[in-house]
């Protein structure tokens, strides 16, 4: 494994706000999860690594070079931002195509790669439609397509799962894992541990701009095993749904509240696998679900206790 990103005593502040604080981290090829709650410094770290921001202190090197205004580095990077806005009067294909052209690809090559990227994110059918007609999940896919299209060696995906439906998430998990297996370096940021766990075994845990934990997800997970995850599910028959989880040893408690059921579990992976299955089978007519403590704040409170 080769070192792709190397940060030493890296800090970035905006006025009095310290976004990244004295980070020492090396990231190698393969998939790396960047985990932390909102405001942890994930996006700032990504922007520092792309040279969009200059460090306030310390250094960051990508492929052994400073990324700031470095076209040789930027040529090897793909970036899927977390924002969800696009230019008007532009189709998905055009968006991917024109951004491809900035990499110096010829018209024909940019077209071929844009089509391939749209195919890879399963947007071929809709790529010639205007982006304003897309659903949030489709817009997310087209953002990922523009990052994939130039076949970058290093890919930054900032909250890529936001807005995707369960099926889309599963497809994206598979895509990210495949990119890592191809030998690319993929950095995925999220504030949901479960999402990171699905794509990589290595993660960097950020909190208030500092590294809180780093290493195998499993190791971090063990630290958190005693910390239960609360998931609130809204469905037509909450009692029927609860019955599926009531017998599990890992279920700590089940609460009902006005058509909703909140399950506290010590095994989020097992819980979500089972919930996905139930949704697919339409066993409990689930309309929505959310992690009650998905922002990791409670996890951090536990970790820093």
């Amino acid at each position: 494994m080769s070192v792709v990103i190397e940060a030493k005593e890296l800090s970035k502040w905006f006025g009095e706000v310290v976004a990244v604080n004295n980070l020492d981290v090396t990231i190698e090829s393969g998939v790396t999860g960047l985990l932390g709650p909102n405001g942890a410094g994930k996006s700032t770290f990504i922007k520092l690594a792309m040279g969009l921001y200059g460090p306030s202190r310390g250094t960051i090197k990508v492929f052994g070079q400073s990324p700031r205004n470095n076209m040789d580095v930027l040529r090897r990077i793909g970036y899927c931002p977390e924002f969800d806005r696009f230019p008007d009067n532009t189709t998905g294909f055009e968006f991917v195509y024109w951004l491809n052209r900035f990499y110096g690809l010829t018209g024909g090559e940019a077209t071929r790669r844009a089509e391939e990227a749209c195919e890879r994110v399963k947007m071929t059918d809709r790529m010639d439609d205007l982006i304003e007609t897309y659903s949030r999940g489709m817009r997310q896919r087209i953002k990922i397509a523009q990052a994939l299209a130039p076949a970058p060696e290093l890919l930054f995906l900032d909250e890529p799962m936001a807005g995707l439906d369960p099926e889309g998430r599963e497809e994206l998990f598979a895509l990210i894992r495949a990119l890592g297996e191809e030998g690319r370096a993929v950095i995925v940021s999220s504030h949901i541990l479960y999402e990171i766990e699905r794509v990589t075994s290595y993660m960097v845990l950020l909190h208030n701009g500092c590294i809180l934990a780093r290493g195998k997800v499993h190791d971090v997970r063990e630290l958190m095993d005693e910390h239960p995850l609360a998931v609130t599910v809204e469905c037509r028959s909450p009692r029927a749904l609860a019955a599926h989880f009531a017998g599990d040893d890992t279920t700590l408690s089940i609460e009902f509240d006005n058509g909703r059921v909140t399950v506290r579990t010590r095994d989020p992976n097992g819980f979500f696998d089972k919930l996905n299955r139930l949704i697919t089978e339409n066993a409990a007519e689930v309309t929505s679900f959310a992690c009650a403590d998905a922002d990791l704040q409670s996890v951090f409170q536990y970790l820093v206790r």
Binding site: A19, N69, M71, R76, R101, G104, L105, G183
Partner: protein, 291 residues
């Protein structure tokens, strides 16, 4: 199990190192020409060009037919006469349209990129800040040229084609250079001012209003000040007057605007361009923001 190369691999695409801004120009032009109001404004410009084509055609046909009586009659109608003043007037009359079209096309060009966070996505690509600025400027300059220099030079060519001969050539060979210079005087301050405003304001509407108010205020100042201090030379502080003065010089026209040397007008135009470029470039350089 496949074994993958884990070291850095060479970039596969062909590189356009010096011309990345050109990609931005093509992208922006594509978006503009797909916008209906922009096309309507261009159609308005075509009406004026059509009139000038008619004027030159009639004048040249009459002069080539040696119909001296008709020619004399035409020369008495200032509007139908063809000389350097024709090409100067064409640009002068086009200048408000240039302002409107570039204001429409350019006022949202940068602020929308900021509000849509596209600036972030652009600079995550191998695109320098200079490429970005150059792309935006060249796009609007091309739009300006479509309305000014290109049709006016084509009118000179038409004049030479309809009235071929050394006499016409001797009278008009210098006009394309004057057209280019005067077009630059009209288009550049307009483009840079509008882009600077677009970079400084958060919305297209505010950017447009700011440019409009600035131009209005400047024109009012340029009109009022000479009367107040009883010196017509203070009109040079009005950008439209300074531009007009440059046109008079470039096309050998009598000094109707103000008698001050044209160098002062050139200085005012250059200062406006420099200030606008500085505001634009420094805003783009300061594109870092806390997210």
């Amino acid at each position: 199990m496949p074994i993958y190369e884990q070291t850095y691999r060479a970039y596969e695409g062909k590189t356009l190192r010096g011309f990345r801004w050109w990609v931005m120009v093509k992208q922006e032009l594509r978006v503009l020409f797909a916008t209906r109001p922009f096309l309507y404004l261009l159609i308005v410009a075509v009406i004026h060009v059509s009139f000038r084509v008619f004027q030159i055609t009639v004048y040249d046909m009459v002069s080539m037919a040696n119909q001296s009586a008709a020619l004399m009659a035409l020369r008495n109608i200032a509007m139908m006469q063809v000389d350097e003043r024709t090409f100067f007037d064409f640009l002068r009359i086009q200048s408000p349209l240039v302002f409107l079209v570039t204001l429409f096309a350019g006022s949202g060009m940068i602020c929308n990129d900021f509000s849509d966070n596209l600036i972030e996505i652009y600079f995550s690509k191998p695109l320098t800040r200079l490429d970005y600025i150059a792309g935006k400027i060249v796009t609007l300059v091309l739009v300006g040229a479509i309305l000014t220099a290109i049709p006016d030079i084509l009118l000179v060519v038409l004049h030479n084609l309809l009235a071929p001969g050394r006499e016409t050539l001797r009278e008009t060979y210098w006009i394309p250079f004057s057209i280019l210079a005067f077009s630059a005087c009209i288009v550049l301050p307009c483009v840079l001012g509008i882009l600077a405003s677009s970079a400084l304001f958060s919305s297209q509407r505010y950017a447009g209003i700011a440019v409009f108010m600035l131009l209005f205020g400047d024109s009012a100042l340029g009109s009022a000040l000479p009367g107040l201090v009883r010196n017509p030379n203070f009109s040079v502080l009005s950008l439209p007057m300074a531009i007009n003065r440059m046109g008079e010089t470039l096309f050998n026209q009598p000094k109707k605007t103000f008698p001050l040397h044209w160098g002062w007008s050139a200085l005012v135009i250059a200062l406006v361009c420099a200030a606008a470029y500085w505001a634009l470039a420094s805003r783009i350089r300061r594109a870092e923001r806390a997210s």
